[in-house]
Amino acid sequence: MKPLVDLAQVIRTKNAGPFELTIDIIFKDRETYERIKKNNSLNAGVIAKLYGVPEEDILSAIYFDPACAFKATMKRQIPCGAFGERDIYGAQQHAPLLGLSVEWGDCDAADP
């Protein structure tokens, strides 16, 4: 396992329209990205568990090769601006990812 913060250069969340929140994780280099992708270290299940939401609320989880990025989109808890809103832009919902460790594959045991 490796801390995600050591592997990524961008970890962010933002609204994707008023009803969805989208997570972007852009890795530091292609090698790191390919290894994460090969191990499927990030997927809908990992994100659902991290945020404590049902997996069906994760609408998509996609690896995007051109940007060395993983992207997951989840249903917003409430629509943007509805009563109970805490983050209109959805730009500060990334914090749990900063504490996430992800599967690093075969060499895990050998890693210090």
Partner: protein
């Protein structure tokens, strides 16, 4: 052959740009200047209330530069989603600013104005005809949602802009528009491939946000050829990199390979990004797949009440520790006190320093040595919101809890008056797709000769 050159001055009209960047952008000899003015990001208030979320002075400042440059170079200026949300009052607001600038600057031009308002009877008929579908995890549309909406807008694609260009418009001011359309329309009008034009538009619509270091208030230049496009930030201290441009393709979208818009989808499965110079990136193989039936996005907002808030802090660990119980106690007292108003108001406590940002999603809801508290009441009338908020505030201030030593008061208020009337509260009422026969049918263009 010189590529088609497009100048995007700023991410949102009114966000500004440095003079030097704009001049450098103009030095490339743009064939068109275009700017997107809108976003749903700031929430439903702006569409619902008909107000702009960017200050008038900022928009006027940008428009002064843009109109001067477009008229002196004799190139079209396209503005999408006027006033931030692109409904009638937003469009009128922006039109008035343009006319004011033209008068002050001594500019004359032919302006196309394209509203994007959806008449309520039209949308109801579409609902009966089953031409309306939810866009994403959105409840099914009801007739009441339509009736209750203050403004309803459809997001126009390139077609109304192309129509305006065909008619010789120098300036095109449009209501709600698909963000890339203001850029792509001119390119497609000039005969360039739709896929490349739209993908370029996607990147240019946020201007230098797609550069590194990124900025929402700086210029980006696009260069379009028939088999590729290139982007380069006008400001020499920024670079476009494969990472910054590819990453921008992800921004605010659900699926980065398939980007749906009016009339079809942009497909990026085969797309290639290449670093051409230190500051310039080329992109190839972006494809547009038209859909069989033409759909447009419709947005609406409706008013749900009036909001009053108060801001306070708490520093006493004996108060912070049982805060959840205290909040429940305050809510209960409020319910009892106004039991005949039940269902007419809502009360909420935001506890900053604990879970103020993430609420139930917060993995670490442990408060620090002090907390910030925002109490919020939303009610059917402004008076009831004021009454409920005032009662909750005074109840929390003097609330007796076990172990209390500080019997003078539990809250630190930074302000007098302590309560703030925020005003009308809106929610999104419509976020749906509608199937149309003609991509122009909701966007009746008018032309006017603006004279200095």
């Amino acid at each position: 052959m010189k590529p088609l050159t497009l100048l995007s001055p700023t991410a949102i009209l009114g966000y500004g740009f440095p003079d030097s960047s704009f001049e450098r952008g103009l030095s490339f000899g743009p064939d068109v200047i275009a700017v997107d003015a809108g976003s749903t990001d700031p929430g439903p208030y702006y569409l619902g209330s008909g107000k702009s979320f960017v200050a008038r002075g900022s928009v006027k400042r940008d428009l002064t530069y843009l109109l001067r440059a477009a008229r002196s170079l004799r190139v079209p200026l396209l503005i999408g989603t006027a006033g931030g949300s692109g409904a009638k009052p937003h469009l009128e607001w922006c039109r008035e600013i343009i006319e004011e600038v033209a008068y002050e600057e001594g500019l004359s031009f032919k302006m196309a104005v394209i509203p994007a308002d959806v008449p309520k009877p039209y949308l109801k008929e579409a609902l009966w005809d089953e031409r309306v579908t939810p866009l994403g995890p959105v409840p099914a549309l009801t007739e009441a949602d339509i009736s209750d909406s203050t403004y309803l807008v459809a997001q126009m694609g390139m077609e109304p802009f192309i129509n305006a260009l065909d008619n010789g418009a120098d300036v095109i001011l449009a209501g709600r528009s698909y963000d890339p359309a203001v850029f792509a329309a001119y390119a497609v009008w000039k005969g360039y491939p739709t896929g490349l034009a739209l993908h370029l538009g996607k990147i240019l619509e946020c201007a230098a946000i797609a550069a590194t270091p990124g900025s929402g208030s700086d210029c980006m230049v696009g260069f379009l050829e028939h088999d590729q496009f290139m982007v380069e930030p006008a400001n020499a201290s920024r670079r476009a990199t494969v990472a910054s441009v590819a990453a921008h393709t992800l921004y605010e979208k659900s699926n980065p390979y398939l980007l749906p818009g009016p009339g079809g989808s942009l497909e990026l499965y085969q797309c290639k990004f290449e670093q051409i110079t230190e500051r310039r990136v080329a992109v190839r193989n972006s494809l547009f797949r038209p859909e069989a039936s033409h759909t447009l996005k419709v947005e609406g907002a409706k008013m749900t009440g009036y909001r009053v808030i108060t801001i306070a802090g708490a520093r006493d660990p004996r108060f912070i520790e049982p805060l959840d119980e205290i909040i429940e106690g305050v809510k209960e007292r409020t319910r009892e006190n106004f039991n005949w108003e039940s269902g007419k108001y809502k009360l909420m406590f935001h506890i900053y320093g604990k879970n103020g940002v993430m609420g139930d999603l917060e993995p670490n809801p442990r408060p620090g040595h002090e907390v910030g508290i925002v109490i919020e009441a939303v009610a059917e009338t402004p008076e009831l919101a004021e009454v409920v908020l005032g009662f909750a505030r005074s109840t929390m201030l003097h609330y007796g809890f076990p172990g209390r030593l500080s019997t003078a008061g539990n809250l630190a208020f930074p302000y007098s008056p302590s309560d703030f009337k925020v005003g009308e509260v809106y929610v999104y009422s419509v976020h749906h797709l509608i199937t149309v026969k003609d991509p122009n049918e909701l966007f009746p263009i008018t032309f006017e000769e603006v004279r200095s």
